[in-house]
């Protein structure tokens, strides 16, 4: 691409903008003089420039410059050297001597004078302010408006919306962070047995973690696994395999494959037809139907985006209320089985009253407040029982984001519940079971 050399016209508007331009070097009020062809840009009123001794060759100014010309040889720098300086001159990025030499030249050379004016006008078009972060809700509103104007022939299934929205939000955060921030340390926290554990990685390492676990879903859909065909099925092992396998610590280049994969997942489930929602996604020791699996991935994406945002000191909001509600609902549905697991491991109290499968059993009333909240009844004695308001023996009340942080292993069961009432053991077991849903 070539600049339109000589193609510019010194139009009237340009003059206005030039006067408002920041950092215009030198006493250049005489732009009007341009109207006189081939006459000095700087009228007689301009102070006489002080030129350096003209002994150098083509080089200007700098100490020791001009060695190529040889002593006694001339003079002022050539037209082509001065011309090459015009950009730097317009940006006030040359030495005083060079500035003076350029300005003297502009008085003699109409083409250079014209270009100089044009480039200086261009400098006025540079802006210091950076683009602002977009409101994440804007994406939702824009897409909603589009789909209202022209319904999609191939829609994104509603159960994939949280994943679509959360990956887009994280991607927007990643776009805004600087090169070095990709290496900012991040401590990933989760819960094992009775206590919180953690592991240190970087922002890029977190994205690698998200990508490798998303790869489980990709594999279930028949897409390429980012870890290759022989990759382990358990999420933690996958992440460790990825971290171990990397020859060098991951960098910002991880963003594109992560994003490509998440886009491909959304696209693939859009085309796959209704039955795909129930497709089983294996996590090694358990499995989830695809609709829940993708919701779980949306949850992880948000939680880790929060970890990243903390690490680089950016604000990050929770998901929209309706998406948050679905995430809480998934956790509530997983709680009875998690509780049974802990019971088998001797970490929770024994079952009190077993009932027939599908019958209402002893329950804990989980009341989640705030955006995305609601009421859930968690069956205490068996995953086969149905949670029931009538058979509630205890109640726990907490705020939606707090509950999610508990499920993510980011806060401990002891510090989680704001309000508790009823059977102490049931409360303790359910809160610990919630924390045990977390993993690397």
């Amino acid at each position: 691409m070539n600049g339109p050399l000589g193609g510019g016209h010194g139009d009237d508007d340009g003059r206005d903008e030039m006067r408002g331009a920041p950092r215009i070097p030198g006493p250049r009020s005489a732009a009007d003089d341009l109207d006189a062809p081939a006459r000095p840009l700087f009228g007689p009123a301009a102070p006489e420039p002080e030129l350096p001794p003209r002994t150098g060759g083509g080089t200007l100014g700098g100490p020791g410059g001009g060695s190529s010309g040889g002593p006694g040889r001339v003079e002022r720098p050539s037209h082509s050297v001065l011309k090459s300086l015009l950009g730097a001159w317009a940006l006030s990025a040359c030495s005083t001597e060079e500035t003076a030499a350029v300005e003297e030249h502009l008085g003699d050379c109409a083409p250079c004078a014209e270009e100089a004016l044009r480039l200086r006008d261009a400098v006025a078009l540079l802006h210091t302010d950076r683009d602002l972060d977009l409101d994440p809700l804007l994406r939702f509103r824009v897409l909603e408006n589009c789909l209202g104007r022209r319904p999609a022939r191939i829609p994104v299934p509603t159960w994939a919306n949280p994943y679509d929205a959360e990956t887009a939000r994280l991607d927007a955060l990643l776009r805004d962070i600087g090169e070095s921030e990709w290496h900012a340390p991040v401590r990933l926290k989760w819960f094992e047995g009775e206590r919180q554990v953690s592991r240190r990685t970087t922002v890029a390492g977190v994205i690698g973690h998200l990508m490798t676990v998303d790869g489980l879903v990709a594999g279930a859909l028949g897409l390429d696994d980012p870890l290759g065909p022989a990759a382990p099925a358990i999420p933690t092992e996958r992440t460790q395999a990825f971290w171990r396998g990397a020859e060098e610590p991951p960098t910002r280049t991880i963003r594109e494959p992560w994003r490509d994969q998440s886009h491909t997942l959304v696209r693939t489930v859009s085309f796959a037809g209704r039955g795909v929602a129930e497709l089983s996604v294996s996590y090694g020791d358990f499995a989830l139907p695809l609709r829940d699996s993708l919701l779980d991935r949306a949850f992880e994406c948000w939680i880790h985006a929060g970890d990243i945002a903390d690490a680089v000191d950016y604000p990050y909001e929770p998901p929209s209320g309706s998406h948050l509600h679905r995430m809480i609902d998934l956790a509530a549905r997983l709680l009875p089985a998690a509780l049974a697991d802990r019971r088998r491991a001797g970490l929770a109290g024994p079952a009190r009253q077993l009932v027939a499968a599908g019958a209402p059993g002893r329950s804990l009333h989980l009341e989640v407040e705030g955006s995305g909240g609601g009421n859930w009844y968690i069956a205490l004695d068996s995953p086969a029982a149905v949670g029931s308001a009538d058979r509630a023996v205890a109640q726990v009340a907490l705020e939606g984001v707090e509950f999610c942080r508990l499920v993510a292993g980011h806060i401990s069961p002891e510090e989680a519940a704001a309000g508790q009432d009823g059977d102490r053991e049931a409360i303790r077991d359910v809160l610990f079971a919630a924390a045990s849903l977390s993993r690397l």
């Binding site: 600049g3 950092r23 090459s84 950009g87 940006l91 044009r118 540079l126 897409l143 789909l147 022939r153």
Partner: protein, 193 residues
């Protein structure tokens, strides 16, 4: 960024949009929303108005993906043109309404303001699209106030090369001033609205 000029991505995106694939719309938004919003904001200097233009631009593209002609350039440049013309016509409307209300100012002043806003937005687009080495040189010399020798050292290039990049970068930028105004009759936009 490199992908933005890849005609393959552009053509495929156009096909997917034509087919009515909602996932493609999401990807289109993810790629261009910040550009669209930034350009609209530069013209209108108002967050809500820029949101509104963003909504209109994507609505238009989703309804008329075939208005894009890959032979005319990248999808990115087309999206920028659509945005500029939407934002400029909105600015003209609001300014004309304000003029009618208050009676202060003249039509010439209005046109001048509209023109300046359009030029500023075009300049922003040029900066975001110019080759990275040129942008990096301008960034150092203008925003960080480095002289061209320091710029050369920072970039690890010769002083000649630094001068060349600064000059070329400004030459590209200056085309924002000299190209005809697109707001009135943009290619590929006005015809099917």
């Amino acid at each position: 960024m490199a992908k933005d000029t890849a005609p393959r991505w552009d053509r495929k995106m156009q096909q997917r949009l034509s087919r009515g694939e909602a996932a493609a719309l999401g990807e289109l938004y993810d790629r261009f929303a910040s550009l669209v919003h930034m350009l609209a904001h530069r013209v209108l200097d108002d967050d809500q108005a820029a949101d509104q233009v963003t909504r209109e631009v994507f609505g238009y593209i989703w309804e008329h993906p075939d208005a894009y002609d890959p032979k005319q350039g990248s999808m990115r440049s087309w999206v920028a043109r659509v945005t500029n013309s939407q934002a400029v016509s909105r600015l003209r409307q609001t300014e004309a309404a304000a003029l009618a209300d208050s009676g202060e100012g003249t039509t010439e002043e209005l046109e001048q303001k509209v023109r300046r806003a359009a030029v500023a937005a075009r300049a922003d687009y040029i900066v975001t699209s110019m080759p990275a080495p040129l942008r990096a040189a301008l960034e150092l010399a203008y925003f960080q106030r480095r002289d061209y020798r320091q710029t050369a050292a920072d970039l690890g290039v010769t002083e000649d090369e630094a001068r060349r990049r600064l000059r070329l970068g400004l030459q590209l930028l200056s085309t924002a001033n000299t190209r005809p105004l697109e707001g009135s009759s943009p290619p590929g936009y006005g015809r099917s609205l």
